[in-house]
């Protein structure tokens, strides 16, 4: 427990939808240890996206605590949240979210720009990150010159380039065919094997099965939280 990289206590999130209060999360508590591989599942409306946004420090909870890598991040200012996103979190999105006009290398460099690294160091580390995902030969291509799988690998390289505490993936295979999905899942598996903490939000059970632990949300609460091996058994 002391090695928990994510520690969440009683997290709630209320939305004010034109005067009507919507409870997206109704008190969630969980811990994720370093080097865990967790999938968060749940039907639409279960609070998965809200969970994802809170975990990614894109949003702050209405109440509760969120400790990320030993730092309480649930009450931080905008600027401080930006710093946490930059240093601690690597995002992988369903739609890749690469800058269309920038080369793969430049896309991967982006987090380092906001970390304040020099151009030389940025290029060095971005090259290394592209190497890690097997795309060093595509570094000067723009997203529209890359296949879906390659784009997602660029996005993964970008997520990894700042050596974040957690890799946060939101439906990472949602826009990919099954062969490519498998390829991406292999990359995730390799990263996990190399020590990376991975949290993945998905609604596909077979994708979630790649994780070691599956948390299922329903109506803003944790419905189940168990290792995949148990389920498979």
């Amino acid at each position: 427990m002391s090695d928990a990289i994510i520690k969440i206590r009683n997290l709630t999130r209320l939305y004010d939808m034109g005067g009507e209060l919507v409870h997206a999360l109704r008190g969630v508590s969980l811990d994720v240890a370093r080097n865990e591989y967790v999938a968060i599942m749940g039907p639409s409306g279960s609070g998965k996206s809200t969970m994802m946004n809170l975990l990614g420090c894109l949003d702050t909870p209405s109440s509760g605590e969120y400790w990320l890598n030993g730092e309480e991040v649930s009450r931080l200012s905008d600027n401080a949240l930006a710093r946490v996103r930059n240093r601690e979190i690597g995002f992988v999105f369903q739609t890749f979210n690469l800058l269309p006009r920038a080369t793969a290398l430049h896309n991967v460099e982006l987090p380092l720009v906001y970390a304040g690294l020099s151009a030389g160091e940025r290029r060095e580390r971005a090259r290394h990150a592209l190497d890690q995902v097997g795309l060093s030969n595509r570094k000067d291509h723009r997203p529209n010159e890359l296949s879906g799988g390659q784009r997602q690998r660029v996005a993964i390289a970008r997520a990894l380039v700042n050596q974040p505490s957690i890799l946060l993936a939101d439906e990472p295979t949602g826009n990919l065919d099954s062969a490519t999905s498998e390829e991406i899942m292999r990359v995730f598996g390799d990263l996990h094997a190399a020590g990376q903490t991975v949290v993945m939000v998905t609604h596909e059970a077979d994708i979630a099965a790649n994780a070691a632990r599956v948390i299922t949300l329903r109506d803003g609460r944790i419905e189940s939280d168990r290792p995949t091996r148990d389920r498979a058994a």
Binding site: D78, N79, R83, N97
Partner: protein, 412 residues
Amino acid sequence: MPIFEAVRLALRTIRVQKLKSFFSLIGVLIGVTFLIAVVSIVQGMNHYMQDRFANGLIGVNTFEVRRFPNYDVGNVPEDTWREYLRRPRVNYQEAAFLRERVHTPTIYARTCFEDLWVNQGTLRGQIEVRAADEEYFRIKNYRIAEGRTFTPQEARSGLAVIVIGDLVREKFFPGVDPIDKELTIAGLPYRVVGVVEKQGTLFGLSLDRFGIVPFLAPARRELCAENVVHELWAKSAGPTEMLAAVGETEQYMRIARKLEPDQANNFYIETAEGALGTWAKISRILFLALPGLVAISLVVGGIVIMNIMLMAVSERTREIGIRKALGARRRDILAQFVVEAATLSSAGAVLGIGTGLVLAFVVRALTPLPAAVAPWSIGLAVFLGVAVGVAAGVYPASRASRLDPIVALRAE
């Protein structure tokens, strides 16, 4: 994000949308072009008026006593004009009185002039014939290219000798030495004794189309009536002496004409400064109007850029979301868009400086104006370019920086 990083990003964004960027900065471009071109031309005009018009036509430390102003008569009211015509002409006694009384060392020269037909053999043409006292050459600072001016003897006796301008030499004595040749004025042959160094042109008109004869020469009768001086030229040693001499001249002219203290001068003392008065008025108006005209184009240019930036922000909402997710702080986004607007606007300013320079050089090449680009106007243009961009960029940039990353990431 460091500023140069933002500039690089901005330049890349501009490069990928060349045409759109160009149209968005056209307002700034026009404003700056206008600024550079007008300042250059007005300054060139100032130089020209100062050097060529005032100092060329009148001269440094030089003034003339006349019946009424020479260079300001185009725009006087009817009754002023009638008053001018009622004034007595300057006469020999007044000239002599000034020569005798004015203490400040000043040289005077009586002159009368008129365009007359002259001929040399079969060559015939009109030149400005001026009858002048010999001091006139010193007052006008005429250098003699060939020959000499009048001897005191020639001046005193009013002999039929003439000193000609360069254009007259060219026209009447092509390819031959004009010295001791004859030029006929009103049926009387005048011996050429000297040629004045070429004076060049003013507003495209030659300043060398003249011949000067002694004031007492017979040709004077063709130029003005007995006891009349068209212009009494005068020159002092320096600016302060000239001021004193002008004051004294005015005072003694009033005495000579027995003017009561409440009576206005019925003569006019023309100085280079006075002749520049009209031009000074025009250039002052131009310089007053200029900031307004430049400001209008820049405001329009700024509004265009602001609109383009607002469009850019909504087109690139997703990009902003991505950048925020990856750790861009508000001020990073703010800087990105402000710098982009400033870069865009500065690019307009740089292009405007370019076209302004081209315009100034075209004016210089095609007109006698020495249109000179003022370095301060370039500095001002660059500053205005950046300032307009920053001003136009702040609002769109602050909208961009305030976007919620979650909403922005969902944008299409």
